[in-house]
Every structure is written in structure tokens, then in C-alpha cells.
Amino acid sequence: MAQILVVDDSSTVRNEVGDFLKASGLTVSFAIDGADGLVKLKADPAIKLILCDVNMPNMDGLTMSEKVRSELKNSAVNIIMLTTENSPVMKERGKAAGIKGWIVKPFKGDAVIATFKKLVGA
């Protein structure tokens, strides 16, 4: 059982973010794209926070977020996008899908860890 699911096609990002979160005392699982993210969330519905890239093969992060709400009927999990994208159009789409927030890469763990812990109830 994990508190946070990190969804990114880049192993570099999964390593960087995952190592930081674990060092901060959080439990982490990983997915390599949006489709894999849905599978991992379905298998572990106790996940409280998803950190998700936008541009990924097979299924992008915004589509995954929409399906988390519509297909998995999971309205509780917090979703934060971690992406190079900064387009207002994409952010609006994310808001419509009920995402909680947006981080433009590169990841700076110290700036966000307090909020992450609050979101997972740690």
C-alpha cells in the first residue's frame, strides 16, 4: 500500500521524485504512463495523492485524470500534475477533471513536501 503514486514515463523523474518522497518518510508506488497509472490506482485504492506528468505515451496525464474520476469513480484521490506544460488551456482542462494543483518541472521537493504531507494526512 502506498500513499503516493508517481506517474511519469521518464525513469529519471520517477527516481528523483520517488527517492525524495521516500527520504521524506512517505510510501511511493510508480507507473510508467497514464494507462499504467489507472491499473496501479485500481489495484491500490488507498493511494491518497497522484503526481502525474502530462506528456506520456499510451495515455497522457490529463486523460488519465479524467478517467480516474469517470471510470474509476475515484473522486477522493488528490491529483497534482508535474509537467513541463504551462498552458492555461491545459490547466483549465485539468481543473475540469478535478485536479488539485500544477507544478512546472523541474521538481523541487523542498518547496512542496509540506503540502504533499498534508494531502496524504501524514
Binding site: S11, T84, S87, W102, V104, A111, V112, T115
Partner: protein, 324 residues
């Protein structure tokens, strides 16, 4: 309208008359050319090795052989037809006495006395594109920031950007990603050698674990993420929000691994940046050299160049959480 960036280009100077060197040097300096000279028996090896050339200055009687330059031009043109060759003649700045086959290998002829008349030919064959200053500066800023975020406690140096005509691939790993804005369509390439990345991963200078260096796919992933960061920042700065592609045109890219050659289907020049990532506290660590090339092969309208204007409300620094 943004000013155009002043860009250099590297040219190989194959000249065997020492009395011409000074004049050639002055001409190169005046015309934003960086001249590289080699010994005659090294010339073809240099041709094959990739030094990001924009063109070649060649003397007609190169290597002190009568018409040696014309023979050399044929060899160079066979190997690297994309490189313009400017032939210096002793007699006159015309193609008199040069066969049709030989003429096809040359872009222009000149004499040392009238070398200044070559300028329009440089514009035609090397500097055929101009690039907005803000674009060139912005690319360097974006990329230095992306590299700095991926390498711990290292310095990133960027050389002055330049124009390239050759088609050789540097190193063993490269990424390729499409770029599209309202004023350009093409590709960005990032090229590097595996050994540089390997050293930095093993030396714990990246966000990867040092033991991950054994799998080359992890190195691929690192270069991939660098490319992703640059691409994303490029889009955020230069692609109008809400831009929809109106063109479905594409051309095949051709990569020939045997010859380390890549073609984008056109003769357009490439805008090239060279970055070096160094550990000043550890001179033993092999610096990472990375070449970044922009090939706007599908469309190029610098007169429409624009940067996104960000409102104060939208200003959230990268890495910070924008909570909705």
C-alpha cells in the same frame, strides 16, 4: 521586430599559399567565420570526424599540386555534398578552365584580391537564414536551466551559437523532438557521448543512483528528460497558447548509422549550440559535451516570431505548486 542574432559559422580552410593566410584570416573575422586549418594529410579525416562545419575554403593548387584543389573538391563533395566549397584561384574569379563536373562541386570561386566579393555567396550558402536575437538568447537560457536542474553541483557553460551545414551526428546518443509554433516547424536534436553521461551518473552527479549507470537505457532516459525539459520550456515561451497546427505536411527523416549521418530532407542550415557540463572541483571528471541543433525544415517565418506574454497572475516559478 526583434534584431537578428549575430551568429558565427566554422569553415575549414585548406590553403597552401602562406601569403594568403593573413588576408583569409581578416576576411573570416570580418564575416563571422571561425577558420579551422589542418595539414593536407589530415583533411579527409577531419571531413569524416564532424567538426560542425558551415563551409570550406579551398585553394585551387592545394597541397602544392597543380589543380590539387579541384581533385580535393571532388573528394569532399562526394563525402559531404551539403558543405559549400569556395575555391580560391590565382588566375581570375571565374570558372574558366574548370570542367562542368568540377564546377558542380563548387559554390563559388574567388581570388585573394577580390575576396570581399564573396560576401553575398556566404549569405547564400552559409548564412541563408537569420534568427531573432531573443530566440537565440532564450534557447541558451532555457537549456542551461534544464541542464543545471539535472546535474548536481556542476557548472554549465554554453559557447556562442553558430550555423552548421554538415549532417553528421555527434556521439552515440541523440534525441529528436518536433517543434511547432505559429512561426516555425521543425526539430530539435540533442546529441552527446555516452561516456560523458556515464561518468556523471557514476560520480553521483545526477538524480539517478550511481549503480543505474550499468544499464544504457537509464542514460537514454536522462537525455530524454533533458530534452523534455527544454522542449516544454520552448513551447511555454514561444508557442502561442491555444495554437492549433494547421499543416499536416511532413518529410521523412533519414538516418544512416554507418555514416553517422542524418538528413531532414532539405538544405536548410542548422542553428547549433554547444554546452559543456563541468565539475570545477574535480578536474578528473570527463566533462559532458552536448550539442543542440535546431532544424526548422518544415516552415520558418522569423518575421512572425513572438514570445508568450505572461500575466503577473500566471507567474508561478517552476518547481512551485500552483494549488487550484
Amino acid at each position: 521586430m526583434d534584431e537578428d542574432a549575430k551568429l558565427m559559422s566554422k569553415v575549414l580552410v585548406l590553403e597552401s599559399d602562406p601569403s594568403c593566410f593573413d588576408r583569409l584570416k581578416v576576411f573570416c573575422e570580418k564575416n563571422d567565420l571561425s577558420g579551422l586549418t589542418v595539414q593536407p594529410d589530415n583533411a579527409m579525416a577531419v571531413m569524416r570526424s564532424n567538426v560542425d562545419l558551415g563551409g570550406i575554403f579551398l585553394s585551387e593548387n592545394y597541397d602544392s599540386k597543380v589543380r590539387g584543389g579541384l581533385l580535393m573538391a571532388r573528394k569532399i563533395h562526394t563525402l559531404r555534398p551539403e558543405l559549400p566549397i569556395f575555391l580560391r584561384r590565382d588566375s581570375s574569379p571565374t570558372f574558366d578552365g574548370i570542367t562542368e563536373d568540377e564546377r558542380m562541386t563548387l559554390s563559388a570561386v574567388f581570388t585573394i584580391e577580390d575576396i570581399d566579393s564573396l560576401r553575398p555567396k556566404l549569405d547564400e550558402y552559409i548564412f541563408s537564414r537569420s534568427y531573432p536575437n531573443d530566440l537565440v538568447r532564450g534557447i541558451a537560457e532555457i537549456t542551461v536551466a534544464a541542464l543545471a536542474s539535472q546535474f548536481k553541483d556542476l557548472e554549465v557553460e554554453v559557447a556562442a551559437p553558430y550555423i552548421v551545414r554538415d549532417r553528421l551526428i555527434y556521439g552515440e546518443i541523440f534525441t529528436l523532438i518536433p517543434l511547432e509554433t505559429g512561426w516555425c516547424r521543425g526539430y530539435m536534436m540533442m546529441q552527446t557521448e555516452e561516456i560523458g553521461l556515464l561518468g556523471l551518473v557514476k560520480g553521483d552527479k545526477t538524480h539517478m543512483r550511481p549503480d543505474e549507470a550499468f544499464d544504457f537505457r537509464n542514460l537514454n532516459g536522462l537525455l530524454g528528460e533533458i530534452t523534455n525539459l527544454v522542449w516544454g520550456a520552448f513551447k511555454n515561451r514561444y508557442m502561442a497558447y491555444g495554437h492549433q497546427s494547421t499543416s499536416a505536411s511532413q518529410v521523412p527523416l533519414v538516418i544512416n548509422h554507418l555514416h553517422r549521418y542524418i538528413s531532414f530532407g532539405s538544405d536548410n542550415p542548422q542553428l547549433c549550440f554547444k554546452y559543456t557540463v563541468v565539475d570545477k572541483s574535480n578536474p578528473a571528471l570527463v566533462p559532458l559535451v552536448m550539442y543542440q541543433k535546431f532544424v526548422f525544415n518544415l516552415s520558418w517565418s522569423p518575421q512572425d516570431f513572438a514570445e508568450n506574454q505572461t500575466s503577473v497572475e500566471d507567474l508561478v516559478s517552476s518547481g512551485e505548486l500552483d494549488l487550484f
